[in-house]
């Protein structure tokens, strides 16, 4: 039995995963962060991307939009706006959202609207990426 730590992945609309985990990899602002049991205390921002976590020797994957992570030696907490399993993602919808966001970004917009479109594009692209990577066998 490998050493484990408690992992909580909470999305804004539901608790996504709570349980013991052996290894966690999540996207931070400038690259992936890997967490094993006994990690130093750390507080970071989570960027949109793919979370990987190992439960009972098996890797699981999920797409996360923006969030925040708190790591302690025996505990990890990730709060995300949305966390989804690869097969929950509607690839078609994500593609449409990406298209919409790209279109919007070409319009003349206020800075805030531009950032919103950019964030939407980011989220959509990330969803597409994660669903592509894990759904090809279906």
């Amino acid at each position: 039995m490998a050493k484990t730590f408690k992992l909580e992945l909470l999305a804004a609309d539901r608790p996504f995963f709570i349980g013991e985990c052996e290894h966690l990899i999540y996207p931070a602002q400038d690259g992936l962060v890997g967490v094993l049991p006994g990690h130093e205390s750390l507080v970071t921002i989570v960027s949109p991307g793919e979370i990987q976590y190992k439960v009972d020797g098996e890797w699981r994957y999920a797409a996360i939009s923006e969030g925040f992570a708190e790591i302690r030696s025996d505990y990890a907490l990730i709060l995300g706006d949305a966390i989804e399993l690869p097969d929950e993602i509607d690839a078609k919808r994500a593609a449409e959202a990406a298209e919409r966001a790209k279109e919007r970004m070409q319009q003349k917009l206020s800075i805030l609207q531009y950032y919103h479109s950019q964030a939407a594009l980011n989220r959509a692209m990330n969803r597409l990426k994660v669903s592509k990577r894990h759904n090809h066998e279906i």
Binding site: E8, L10, A11, A12, D13, R14, P15, A28, Q29, D30, E40, S41, L42, V43, T44, I45, E66, F68, E70, R72, L77, L79, D81, L112
Partner: protein, 294 residues
């Protein structure tokens, strides 16, 4: 004794109204179910968010400049510009729900000179727009949000707007007035300050938070806080919205339930009266016939 046809008309109209109140009762009970489910689904997230916020605050290095925590003590109590987000219902027909919220808001507003109101819900907006006093009490007319089916997206938009107002110095304090559901029978209008953030406000039920050791903030404490604050505001506002929506539906449900019950009571009395009147008419006719025959 009232006329037979009059009583019949009344019975008919009460019956019609009872159908409406009963339908409203059913609608609000199904909406309430959904609202409660939403609240349960998001609760862990926001409890954790508050917890995380507090634990970060307890570890953050002292000298970090956090603009959302700036209490602006140089502004005197009389000149502070205060913003209130007030959550009312879109419709009436829910007992004293709207009345209580409005009254709480007005009591709080009475103590300050410059008030900006951001009213959610048709009913409250109508009410406060009549009370506008130039320069002292403003209602933002572009702030049009419904309170039906609260969404995170709506909460985020509101949070962004409030943070912007706060940053640009247009307002110094932001409060939110909402209705808290204590249990299914008791609601309490509540008022809470959401900006500037105050460490002491984050005291929740779990008081056993231990002070953690120093932690590494990556990339910087400021960046983490900067990112967390809008999320946190969004959470606070969403929580208030959901809580209010739940209370509204619950209030409407019980108001409509009691309306239906009293309609039934009235129908009972009226049908008794109707039967009596009818019987009296018959008796009278018989007497007339009998007396005519003899």
């Amino acid at each position: 004794m009232a006329n037979i046809s009059e009583i019949r008309d009344r019975i008919k109209s009460i019956n019609d109204i009872m159908k409406i109140t009963n339908a409203m009762y059913l609608i609000s009970s199904s909406k309430l179910k959904k609202a409660k489910k939403d609240l349960e689904a998001t609760e862990p997230y926001f409890n954790r968010l508050i917890y995380a916020m507090r634990s970060i605050l307890s570890r953050v290095p002292e000298k970090v400049n956090m603009r959302y925590f700036d209490q602006r003590e140089d502004r005197k109590a009389g000149t502070r510009k205060k913003a209130f987000i007030i959550i009312t219902a879109d419709k009436g027909m829910c007992g004293s729900y709207n009345h209580n919220v409005i009254k709480t808001a007005e009591t709080a507003m009475a103590q300050c000179n410059h008030v900006h109101l951001y009213v959610m819900g048709q009913l409250g907006r109508m009410y406060f727009q009549r009370k506008v006093r130039e320069g002292e009490l403003d209602v933002d007319t572009d702030f049009i949000y419904t309170t039906q089916n609260p969404t995170l997206h709506r909460a985020l938009k509101i949070a962004e707007q409030m943070l912007k107002l706060f940053e640009t110095g247009e307002v110094d304090d932001v409060y939110i007035v909402y209705t808290k559901m204590i249990n299914s029978m008791v609601f309490e209008p509540k008022i809470q300050q959401i900006l500037p953030l105050n460490v002491n406000n984050f005291v929740s039920s779990e008081n056993d938070v231990t002070k953690h050791h120093e932690a590494t903030f990556y990339p910087t404490p400021e960046a983490v806080m900067e990112h967390l604050t809008p999320n946190f505001m969004k959470g606070l506002i969403y929580g208030a919205m959901v809580e209010s929506f739940c209370s509204e539906q619950q209030a409407r449900m019980s108001a409509m339930d009691s309306a239906t019950t009293s309609a039934k009571d009235m129908l009972h009395d009226l049908s008794l009266q109707y039967n009596r009147a009818r019987q009296a008419a018959i008796t009278q006719e018989i007497t007339e016939v009998v007396s005519g025959a003899s």
